[in-house]
């Protein structure tokens, strides 16, 4: 699964073709923060793909004789259960890794979805203008006034939550920010000479939008997208905690943490240790996002 790698290389691939994008990612890459964040995320991603096979422990197999084992990291006798086991004797380490994989998958896919939906709406609003643009942007403003978490809880609470519905709800929640940026980029690019030249040469509106304008949207919003992946992962865990996230037996951080709360006093590690792994991966993602943001600000201010 090459999910997490989508975060950056997808960006660099676009960047190679264009000026602003190249310098943005190159500049971000030169900072230590970005490299540290990237290393953390890449490392955890590799671990989540190969880890379960290395230890040969199943994330869903019960083993009642081995329940409530303390983390092997603290008590060597409990190896190979690095993070210990839960109330049913399931290995927490492999459960956490599968949870991380699911969280990353949901986070990345929903952010890509928000990006596509938001960009499409924003580009149309900016390019077509007129009353279409007005209606679309009013819609965007209105969405900002909708209590999204309430909507998400309601939708997922009264229907049967699946990864797909969760991703759709996240997309519904997050697209307006992208639409706003896409619109302002389109408005400024539309008047540029190269767009007029393309038009005179006979390029269709669709081609102008997709080939010429679309690549300009990524640089100003790349950092928001990266930070949003982390936000969505937290949100996914919270939904799982309430019980309206991805349903068992698939392990997610939310369900692992919720299971552990019942045993918080005698088996503290069930809740805390997997959460630490989640926090670590979020830290990696946020470092990357922060580095991207500062590089963008430097480029905007014309420093260097």
């Amino acid at each position: 699964m090459a999910i997490g790698t989508d975060i950056d290389p997808a960006g660099t691939a676009v960047a190679r073709k264009r000026g602003p994008g190249t310098s943005l990612f190159a500049k971000a890459w030169r900072t230590a923060d970005f490299k540290i964040g990237f290393a953390i995320v890449l490392g955890l991603l590799l671990l989540s793909v190969i880890g379960p096979y290395l230890l040969n422990l199943s994330p869903t197999q019960f083993n009642v004789s081995k329940k409530f084992l303390e983390p092997g990291l603290l008590d060597g006798a409990n190896m190979p259960y690095l993070f210990g086991t839960d109330q049913l004797g399931r290995d927490l380490f492999s459960r956490s890794l599968i949870g991380l994989r699911n969280a990353l998958f949901i986070g990345v896919v929903s952010v890509i979805g928000m990006f596509i939906v938001g960009s499409a709406i924003g580009m149309i609003a900016g390019y077509v203008g007129g009353w279409v643009g007005l209606v679309l942007m009013r819609l965007t403003d209105a969405q900002m006034s909708i209590p999204v978490v309430i909507l998400a809880i309601t939708i997922l609470g009264v229907t049967r939550p699946t990864p797909l519905t969760i991703i759709l709800v996240f997309i519904l929640a997050g697209w307006p920010a992208y639409a706003r940026v896409a619109r302002s980029v389109t408005l400024s690019e539309r008047r540029r000479e190269y767009v007029r030249a393309a038009k005179i040469l006979g390029a269709s509106d669709l081609r102008i939008l997709l080939v010429h304008i679309a690549p300009n949207i990524l640089p100003p919003i790349a950092f928001v997208a990266v930070l949003d992946v982390a936000k969505m992962m937290i949100f996914e865990a919270a939904l799982g905690f309430i019980g309206i996230g991805v349903q068992p037996p698939t392990p997610t951080f939310g369900t692992i943490i919720a299971d552990g709360t019942k045993y918080l006093m005698n088996a503290w590690w069930i809740t805390t240790v997997p959460g630490l792994l989640l926090a670590l991966s979020l830290c990696g993602i946020n470092f990357m996002g922060g580095a991207l943001e500062r590089s963008r600000n430097k480029i905007l201010q014309g420093v260097e």
Binding site: I150, L151, F241, I257
Partner: protein
């Protein structure tokens, strides 16, 4: 004054449309998903004919738009209906009672339920704001004044780490360490002011990075403006310029973050955190209502939350235009 009147008229009209659309969305959503509210009200043991009769009497078999029209009419008169499952005595019946008739009069009124819950939520939200600002204002201002130096970097890393802490996990770790192990603060439920401190800390950790960033960026941006050096040339001391002019001008973006972003973040996380801490606010009421399919409560709280967001948006925009008249609406 004409400006203010025009502004409010326009924005309130827009806001009403938004609230109405959100209400319609939630209303329709609740009625198209599987699950018959009559079954929830009367319990599983009731005979189909009685259930059908009750549904007809309550108008639950009418087209959704007709039901919605009636609902809006009731709201206009200030009537948000009664809970499907909560009895007027406060206990939740959960739909398990074998009562054969549904008597709306013995169910709690939605307005009453929300009115009891709102003060708790306001207390929690207010406390979270106070904690977040107490942490963010000094750090943010210091980082802004020393932009690029170590205070700036410290603020940055602190924010990054705070943002990376999943709120539910942080809540449970704090419950475990502060409440269960050390016994310093109570955590579950609400029996006094001290019960609000831990959940407020969790919310403050989530809010603080938003504040730190906007304060730091705003202060450092204002320091670079020409008026700072002009003021100093005219003989005002640097500290005077900072305290009386830079901070004042830095307020505008802070108001903006306080308003839109912070209330947005808070409205979401408050619900989750109340659920984790079993804190008897609007969020807990809402999440329980979702599980019990208590439609009137879900609808009323969604509308309430939407109204809050719309009002905050309007007020923030108004405050911003009054402080800085260059910003038109």
């Amino acid at each position: 004054m004409l400006f203010a009147l025009d502004f409010f008229m326009r924005r309130i009209a827009q806001g009403l449309i938004i609230v109405l659309l959100v209400a319609l969305l939630i209303f329709t959503l609740l009625r198209v998903v599987p699950g018959d509210p009559v079954r929830i009200m009367l319990g599983p043991m009731v005979s189909p004919s009685v259930a059908e009769q009750t549904a007809k009497e309550m108008g639950l078999r009418d087209p959704v738009l007709v039901q919605f029209g009636r609902y809006v009419g009731q709201i206009a008169q200030g009537d948000f209906g009664r809970s499907f499952v909560r009895s007027a005595q406060g206990a939740s019946t959960g739909g398990t009672r074998a009562a054969d008739t549904f008597n709306a009069a013995n169910r709690a009124s939605v307005i009453g339920l929300i009115a009891t819950a709102v003060p708790y939520s306001l207390l929690l939200a207010g406390l979270a704001f106070v904690f977040a600002l107490a942490l963010a204002v000094p750090i943010g201002i210091y980082a802004g004044l020393r932009s690029g130096k170590w205070p700036d970097r410290f603020a940055l890393y602190l924010s990054s780490i705070f943002v990376s802490l999943p709120n539910i996990w942080l809540a449970l770790v704090l419950i475990f360490l502060v409440s269960a192990k050390a016994g310093w603060l109570p955590a579950i439920g609400y029996k006094g002011f001290s019960y609000a401190i831990l959940p407020a800390i969790v919310l403050a950790v989530e809010l603080a990075p938003v504040f730190i960033r906007s304060i730091a960026v705003s202060v450092s941006g204002n320091l670079m403006e020409a008026y700072v050096s002009v003021g100093q040339i005219r003989g005002l001391s640097r500290s005077r310029m900072i305290v009386f002019h830079v901070f004042r001008n830095s307020l505008i973006p802070l108001l903006n973050t306080l308003g839109i972003q912070a209330v947005g973040v808070l409205l979401g996380s408050l619900f989750l955190i109340e659920y984790v801490f079993n804190f008897p606010g609007v969020g807990l009421l809402m999440i329980n209502a979702v599980f019990q399919r208590d439609f009137p409560i879900i609808q009323a709280i969604s509308i309430l939350a939407c109204v809050v967001l719309v009002v905050v948006n309007i007020l923030v925009d108004f405050a911003a235009t009054t402080i800085d008249r260059r910003l038109q609406y």
